[in-house]
Symmetry: D2
Subunit: 361 residues, 4 copies
């Protein structure tokens, strides 16, 4: 009700601030007997954590999780599964100068207006650190998806001005994607992006970027008409990630300039729960439900807000002030956003899978 | 839970199929003492109904609503407000040939796979007719927004290949927008679009399009971190509208190619609940909460699925068949989608307004 | 959120006022392919409607339902199922004198204080007429329970001072129960109760009463720990019925005076999903979950509020006034409450059945 | 959705097993700027914890809480408030013999049937230890109620065969109640109950009991018609507490034998938000909404399941076995259930308070 939960059947609630004792997540509605361990969650967390490469923030967040409840002898028990990730290596002093100033692009101002109080340290609740809890929950969701052979993979296709051409935006195996620190699975464009990011860093500047995600082997009919269409749930999920400003599914924006005769994906055959189409302009979702094709969608991120430029803003007395945001920030969030985006996708699909059990009696 | 409800506080549930006795909506959570009448709902419905202009479907849907409950002496009573809109002028016979065939682009196939049963007449539940119920509910939501002086207006900026240039995509008054049957508020581009649609009609083809929406005077702090960010709720709402394939807020997709130093909207002054910024790249939402700037976002629609071309598809025995969809269809949905989009926006904002009452005790 | 919905998976929302055009219910989350018809709903409604016997209100409510959506060719389609019951035979004039007065025992005063407005005619939303919508929804829930062989039956064991002795409170077949207009399935006590009610009628007075309900063949493990225990859901359901003031399950109040050594139901054998116990003090629910025994519980109703005595109260200007409530009222609600109570029980169980599908993957 | 959450606006989710690393609770929807500290929570926890008196279990649970999130500088921030209570002094070995046996009266059997897996140590999730998390959340709820001057107090009026006579069941100040280890606020009956419990202990037996609760200064109109009546929410809350088997509000069961002319509480005057009635048979709730009178209700608990008698039951291979439950158990739960019951009451009322903010615009 207050925005800290996601999902209807496989429902997660995250909690915690960037510089509090810990962040965490509770999953309510996880079926019993799903195998889970701290190890596989920690592996997933390491894909998100800062300090993992030359182009990410040098902050060191150890991101080791602890399962508090809901698991017994390595299996879920059907009771709420809570995962804690302690905060350490916090440098709250770094934020002392920001206590009475609203950083441009950040949620400082709006939180203060909304609640009349905010934890200014590291952005408090609005920090992207909260997404570590989502990654942890996404691991559990993925364990459910494995039962259905559903595979999610995503990669970066744009970092600032460096954009992978459309013809190269095909599916890539996850292990290939993970070889590239930019998460652009192409040697040339990965290199270009690294150079671009290095230049930005020197300039104390930042940039945006974009990620494409593929979901294979999704059963037909996931999603719920009319408000909880699968695309609506995915859009909701993506826009719940910090800095997301655009989302398109299938041909997306381009579809608005097409004709029906060009666009319609005709059904070619259906056999053994496998659907064949002559095209996939829909991106795997028709009428709000998965149609048996591979689902694909693109998510667009604004530039990182923290830059080492002098910017004008207001202080908490609403007076103009110049600010220079110090700290250890990524120049671009998208490489580290890949596992977050995959986690949110897994959460949407696990929820849809559980919902679909009641489509028929 | 099964996708037919929207909103947490101002919660609507729609019901009804295209060719059933009626469609309708129940609003639970509407505060008492809001003025409402069948007349103002009917006015809003007339903006959505087919047959209203030369470029829309010649189907005649009278779309007169009946308030069943929740209103006494012209005011809401705090009890559930149900609005019914009877279906008449249905030509169910038109759909008899489609009973055993899956129309390309439509939800026929996925509904059948999901539920094992579907009402094939006029698309049943998946028909865009359902959105009339949303428009009705949107009127009630708007009555709440009026108390806060919030104004929503939207117009079409793209119909197929005809696109209003970026520099013309400024705010227009609603009465100006309503003068144009394409809902493109520009004489030149309106005319171009009409010609384009006429050509499509002759070809039995269809096209997509796009709508931009502006929300003025939105209080600061609407939306809920972290999953129910205002942009996430708007994205969810927009993708719940049939045929939507893309959504962007503020600079949207373009923001992903920008630098932080270009993008950040600096706070310039804050006075008397009015915020001033040096720019509005965010589109009025920062950190998931309204920031006091005008909110604006664009929504992209795929082409209308029903075209008078021979298309290959499957029948309900999963055998290939050629199909030629007859019927009275719009060549492009966006002119009639404007009030639907505004209704969904109003629903998101009314819900956010009610939620915000508990931000502080 | 505002109290007009019940259930999490099989979710109903009722709407409508006593003297508005209609009351109704929307079921969201009903699986597809459940057989349903207006006929079987009307049959259930006739068990609830007034005027059915010498001891009930002489009001004539025809209570014919109309299915508006969600059913095609006699089967549910998985889309929201809306049922309307028109109000006719309303005598709103009867309530004109009550427009500015708060009837003792009724919700008039509290509604006015809560909302600042109320539909005074026939109690408006607070009228027991709303329960007809529940009975209709209960029929659909029961169709699901039939798939699991679950049987619900209930009867009256107390009307005012006439109480069926404990040793006679065993299970009775529904057709036996229905033979008695008091719904006390015993010739002697039925007769006593009728005489008692006739005396009350002459005195212009009313009384309370009590109902016991049995649920047979309930699968083991229904209900959800910790807050949505099956007994908690049943208690919630029962107290949502007008006039309910007490509820006990199994040995109920008596259990509080027992010793553990007397009370504990020992498991004797378990075979083929059949559990045997040496006793059933728990009333079929242990640890909040159905345990395989027959579920039984008792629900207690206060006296009907409308009596033909002069009572002191306040008017809407908060000034003392004497009132004499005219109208066509039952002297005791419990005979007609039997189908309402069964409907609420069916709703709880159908919801629990759907929930349990996700206990394990 | 899976039963681990309570409340719609002030929503709590508890997690944790008896012998896991910790139990805890997350509150989502708590308004900002509520003062809260670990100290006041710990004080409340000490009223619930075992080992506090000669008649309670000698188990030592330190029950020190840790606030993980949602509080900054002693005030809530509007973000989710998570409280952890570590489990220590667990003697999991005590439960090793119970691993493969179903204890009579406990949830062992039904959990195993439902989920196919269970944490047998200390009852796992079904342990009453989970209620410590509720007590913690109840403290936060109470901080909200204080703003409205709402006061909750409850005491034990029955322990097994020892029952406080009806005429002594009036309101008592909390500090008086707390002086009695049985929580029966009467020297004579407290003493009788202690003797009774000592005898039971010698016999290795247990008993049930009952608690009455009073809520003073409740604003008029709390609760939501029709399903979320305040009494329905309270009933739901009470039956969510382990071992509860009966609940009655106001005259409760007795009301079912009364006449309307005896029962109806007439409004006598209404002034300055203070309502006066000539009686309070309703127990402060009419038509599902608080009516301005003191709310009072009684809750009945079955005997503690764990007794030191040889009982017959089944093992996990469904074979008959004799069992003798060792361990450190209370002979009667009601003295320690008092703070749990008050916490659940506070949670219901805080939720109703927040809901009521949207009764009118």
């Amino acid at each position: 009700m207050s925005g800290n939960s996601f999902g209807n059947y496989f429902k997660i609630t995250t909690f915690g601030e960037s510089h509090g004792p810990a962040i965490g997540v509770t999953i309510d509605g996880c079926p019993a007997q799903i195998p889970i361990s701290e190890e596989i969650i920690n592996q997933a967390l390491s894909r998100r954590k800062p300090g993992q490469s030359a182009i990410s923030s040098p902050r060191k967040e150890s991101d080791e999780c602890k399962i508090i409840s809901g698991v017994f002898n390595g299996l879920t028990t059907g009771t709420p599964l809570t995962i804690l990730i302690e905060n350490n290596n916090q440098q709250s002093k770094d934020y002392e100068p920001l206590k009475e100033v609203y950083r441009p692009g950040h949620a400082d101002f709006v939180y203060q207006q909304k609640y009349g109080i905010r934890d200014h340290r590291g952005g408090g609740r609005s920090s992207a650190r909260e997404t570590a809890a989502r990654v942890a929950a996404g691991v559990v969701a993925n364990q459910i998806l494995k039962n259905y052979n559903i595979e999610i993979s995503s990669y970066v296709f744009s970092i600032g001005e460096v954009t992978l051409p459309m013809e190269l935006r095909t599916e890539y195996p996850s292990d290939v994607i993970n070889q590239f620190i930019t998460r652009i699975p192409d040697t040339v464009y990965d290199e270009k992006a690294i150079q671009y990011l290095n230049t930005l860093k020197e300039q104390g500047d930042s940039c945006g970027g974009a990620i494409i995600c593929f979901v294979k082997n999704c059963p037909i009919g996931l999603g719920n008409p009319v408000f909880d269409k699968l695309n609506a749930m995915l859009a909701h999920a993506m826009f719940s990630i910090n800095a997301v400003k655009g989302f398109e599914i299938g041909q997306g924006l381009h579809s608005s300039t097409m004709k029906g005769s060009e666009y319609n994906d005709s059904l070619v055959s259906f056999d053994d729960h496998q659907t064949q189409y002559h095209s996939n302009n829909e991106g795997g979702i028709t009428g709000g439900l998965s149609n048996g094709n591979t689902i694909y969608f693109s998510t667009y991120f604004k530039p990182v807000s923290s830059i080492k430029h002098t910017q004008s803003t207001l202080n908490t007395s609403n007076q103009p002030i110049d600010i220079n945001v110090e700290g250890r920030h990524d120049p671009c969030v998208v490489p580290r956003a890949v596992p977050i985006l995959e986690a949110m996708t897994a959460l949407v699909l696990a929820d849809a899978i559980l919902s679909a059990k009641n489509d028929r009696i």
